[in-house]
Symmetry: T
Subunit: 154 residues, 12 copies
């Protein structure tokens, strides 16, 4: 039996075009939809006694708003910034103002793709980064977050 | 007599500050307003038996949303990304997920302007690019789109 | 006794994460909140017989919208673009279309921080720039704006 | 009935290796030969009451000579500089000395190809640029040229 | 009860200076020794019914030798290339010749450190990358490897 | 009635070619002479109960000497380094050794001019920077300095 | 006894200034003249039952013309592009349109000379490259060409 | 009375677009035609007892041919390489093979123009360079050449 | 009948991952194994009356050791440095200390592959370079070496 | 008989280390001393009815002072900035404020020397540049200056 | 009489190709052999009451091993990293883990040699650097080490 | 008893801000004043039978003057160029004209500090360089100079 969630939820924030998951370039991003990932993530979090707030937006400013919200309401932030990962200083700054652990996730391995995806503005302000494992990467990130939350909470 | 529109519409998407057209720096962008261009474009499309969805936004995320909408509802996308052309990987990624022809248009010739306008994030994912002809460029792009739509539809 | 405001207001526009002022990294940005700065700015403007429109947004597109609004409704624009200062060509273009004086303000001194904050897309289209004086910098900018407005109005 | 050509001809100049069109890398350049394009271009020009001088050379200097000839004898120049587009300052300078409209055309979209094709020495001195539409791009360019010639002639 | 290991072992290869773990710069690398990580990794692998070959060397050539050995004898490779991650094309080439999944691990988050650690020669040839979670990252990598091994073995 | 100056003076140091002010390129630097600015500055300082030492030199070494002098004899340093702003590490180092507030001033806005004026060696070691307001900028800087001096003196 | 030539000839094309061979900078290029190399090459080709077309031009366009000719009339192309090797995209494109093997030769070793000779536009479209062996390099290239021609012909 | 020419002639070689002199961009290149410069140059040379061979071509290869000719038939080479100055390694190599003095001339001052004109491939292999004096620069170059020829001839 | 070997042997040194030849990426490196190449090389050397020492190592230091050994014991060095070709200054320095001819060989053509393979640290200290001919390239190199050895020995 | 000097003198300003002329690296700078050049220059100027002020300093600030003096007291400025040519923005700015013709001279040809001498801060603000002719270059520059002075004075 | 060695020894570690000292390029590295330097170093150390461990290897990994050994067994490390100085992050990281003083030595002055020797990976983690004095530099380094050891030991 | 000084003195020249030694940033530069270093240096020189001229200036030109003086009056030059080390080509050129040994000294280790201190204009023209040992570095440099002077004097 899973434990009752008492900690604040993990915020899982997804950036631009991730709502097309399963439709767009499946040879790169796989065939699982974002909705399905949302369910898998919630299930896995439950095994750690944690709940999840799962969102997606194509708007940089919306992501900044949510990070600011998560700043005081979450136990941890999982973020797949999509294309904004490589350009957004606003998200970078928002994450710097956050004290809870931040974990960056990418479905594919950006270093194995185009030059302009090699640098992430999120990585330098993330506790850790997990890339290349597809939907599975979100679950590993939940495990990592749970472990960090417990350690801090202890 | 123009043919009856049966194909899905052409989406014509305009990026930031294009709503100021005719007002802003007329020596660069001309004196035609965006509304006037919208009408010229609709008229020209009608001669090809095509209709047009014509929009403008200053919001990068809004443009991404519209491109995703056009992904399943349009026959072709004409896009003048304005300043986002040079910086937006999110728009780049959204257009990559699109199967209908994408045509990039600019009123002025970016290569003849400042260094930071020389590179477009949209060009590499566009079928073709037409720049420097002012409002006339939109009409050429409609002609090109019509030609591509017919070829594919044949 | 302060003069009656007859000129259009000064628009003071604040970019992403500035709503966290006083909370985020106080060793860099100080402990004054944005709301407090808003009041200080209004008070100082009143001594020049000027009123103030004071806003903040995390959305690049929203800032562009406001600059376009200020284009016809303000006597001057004070802008602290936050992180968008370093990346936004859309804001750059919007400010270029503006005839009233534009003054760029930063609380901290970007040249004394990370490399990626050394270049501003706003500076080249600003009349003047004031950085590094914390909340005080906004007041100096109001003084500068008042002086410019008077000179033009004379 | 087409109008009688009274304006000077449009010069259509083609650079190195374009004589191999239809033979070389058809997946990039299509299967239409340059001779066929020459006929299509002449036909389209005739609908605007214009004639065409259509030439190709692998020699940079020859292209410069022809541009100088076109300087006083043409109504407009359409140029597909081929590989010289990316390296030739001599062609750049020759085109700068020309007062008639210059339109750059490429069959493929150089921005979607190798890095070294991303920059054109011709673009900065062209009125407009049309790329990526294959042979169709020449026809769009003729339309654009006709429109510019009429406007100037008016 | 854990399953009996029948698959080939996971090779866990550690690069230069990782034998100093727990001693060197603990504020960056933590206080767990490499030997302790070896045990944790073996235990975790056992829960997936997998065994582990765990090695460390300061010699680039030795790491290449081991990767070549793992090429035919392992189910997956976990590699923390240490400083060679950023310079070794030889390791890059060796990993390219490997068909089993390769997972790159780093204790710290290289993107949050010096510029010269931002680029990895291993990342482009890895299936996935996990960085920043300290010793915990090795365990996540074992989970990821187990998941990949099962999927392939199915 | 102005207060009696009791604090040490503000040093206002002007770099190369500023003695030509009012004569050189008035469309960039305005028509006020340096001598006139000196008077305006002294007057403004007096309103804060402060005195001013106002100097100009074309010699980099002389400026370094004066900064060292100001190190122990001034309440604050205002410096317009002129062209040395962009090249002088010696001035950079001298200012680093100073504990009183340093304010950088430029008459024009260097970011709106040539590339080689975009980077300042003084900015990273200045408390704040004020550029683009012509002679008015010196007065704003005096206000800023007075404010900083009082805060420290309190 | 040498075999009778039945295959099409090998085209050996020499670029600018190679006609000065034996005269120009002999410490770099040796004392053998181009005419002598032509004879040596013909003799060596004869031992493989092959004939040779041996040409030199200082004109980039001429070299492109010859490559196009060789495209349908040769068994292989040996090319020493001289200075055009480092700058000519036109030659690069011409060679890309060729199906017969292309071998690049240089008398000296460009990597051991000035920086601007380190990169060749020909190398990426050549089957193989032989440099640094003086006139002897041409003979090795003939051997290599003969071997490739036979393999393809088999 | 001028001395009888007994030395070989000075070759004065002019590159692409210089035949347009007096017509093209007179605000940069002046209003004197190339033919007029030819006469002025011949007259000035005669005062030194020297004759002149004066030529122009738009073809890089032609210029290389002429330099090779001048190699054995001239007393000195004056070269205005036009746009080829900035790109041609072939001309660079040809001039390196020349033992007589080479003097580079430009009508305008390339360093005061676009970035891509700042570097000359001819300068490093020239004895001296004279730029910015318009047609007068050719006469100074003749004087310089005469002086060098005499010194060597002495 | 082949001549009796009296000269010192040719050292043929192979760098990292070349022991995988025939197994690794055969579409790039071919299907011949290194052992087979070793035999082919020895046979070819015998036809020149020369013997061969043929070795491979994944260790940069080992290759340096062997080059130092070859320094006094070989007639020539053939080296395929593999990935170390692009990074090793140690091998570069070792080869610089060698007086016998050094020939660099690569199976594939590095200029036609990834950017990071375009520059070789070995090329600048090699007499000549032969790339792109697969196993055949080693034989051409033996021929070249034999020719150089004879010339020196003469 | 030379004409009586009525025009203001030509200022000939020499930068750092030029006082060592004839002593320092004579293979680059020749054996004529600066004093001798001063005399030659005065003599040549006299033939044009002009006088000369001839100075040298190792101090950048001194050169700026002299340029400012020459601004109102000279007919033209000849400047050999020595090493400051490549680094001094202060001299660049001083020369920009000058209306009389400025001619840059160098004894050697900087483009044929080290990379760091390829760019001059003086060239972009000079009317013309003469380099590489040793002491003779000063005389050519006097001739050029005389010609410019007359043209302006006419 | 020299004092009895009680402190741990100084480790003097020499990198690749230094075993060729006295043989390789004596005009750069001098004629003293490494063995002779070893003796000189031991003698000099003895005058400070210190002993020496003196080693050389061509293997990067071996040098890392030795640095780790020296980490706990030496009083100071003198290291001449040879070519690895410029490329080895592994040695950089190993030295960072060391608490005893590290002194970098080079026989020649790398800044006066090729570009790729200008940057050292060892310098940033060394206490001090001594270059350019040949074998003498080792002795100066021993003196410096002795001084540092005493100061720490005091 | 020290030997009587018969050789010319060693010039020890100190650049900008070194007069602040002991006061400025003691955590970097230590607490010894420049005057104290001057005495230590003189004492150490005396043990070698040498005298010292010890000077400091903030003026680049003054340093150039002194180097020229030392050119004929010193046995060796020790120079700590301070910030000018990284920018001054004038000092570079002055030192190149010097035949006596030049030794560069820095108190701190520039390679371990900001990027802009990593490159020295003095190093390429120095015999040797000693950095990072604080005041002690001057004494090592005196020892080195003494050794070089004796060797030359022998």
């Amino acid at each position: 039996m899973a434990k009752k969630p008492t900690a604040p939820p993990i915020y899982v924030l997804n950036g631009p075009n991730l709502n097309l998951l399963g439709l767009r370039e499946p040879e790169i991003y796989g065939r699982t939809t974002l909705e399905e990932i949302g369910k898998m993530v919630a299930d896995r979090a439950k095994t750690h006694g944690l709940s999840v707030v799962f969102r997606q937006s194509n708007h940089e400013g919306q992501l900044v708003d949510w990070i600011q919200e998560a700043r005081t309401k979450s136990a941890a932030i999982l973020i797949n910034g999509g294309a904004y990962s490589h350009t957004s200083l606003a998200i970078h700054d928002a994450l710097r103002a956050v004290d809870v652990p931040v974990i960056e996730v990418h479905l594919s391995n950006p270093q194995a793709r185009e030059e302009f995806r090699h640098h992430s503005r999120i990585s330098p302000v993330a506790k850790g980064v997990i890339v290349g494992f597809g939907a599975q990467g979100y679950l590993l990130a939940v495990d990592a977050a749970a472990s960090l939350v417990k350690r801090i909470g202890a």
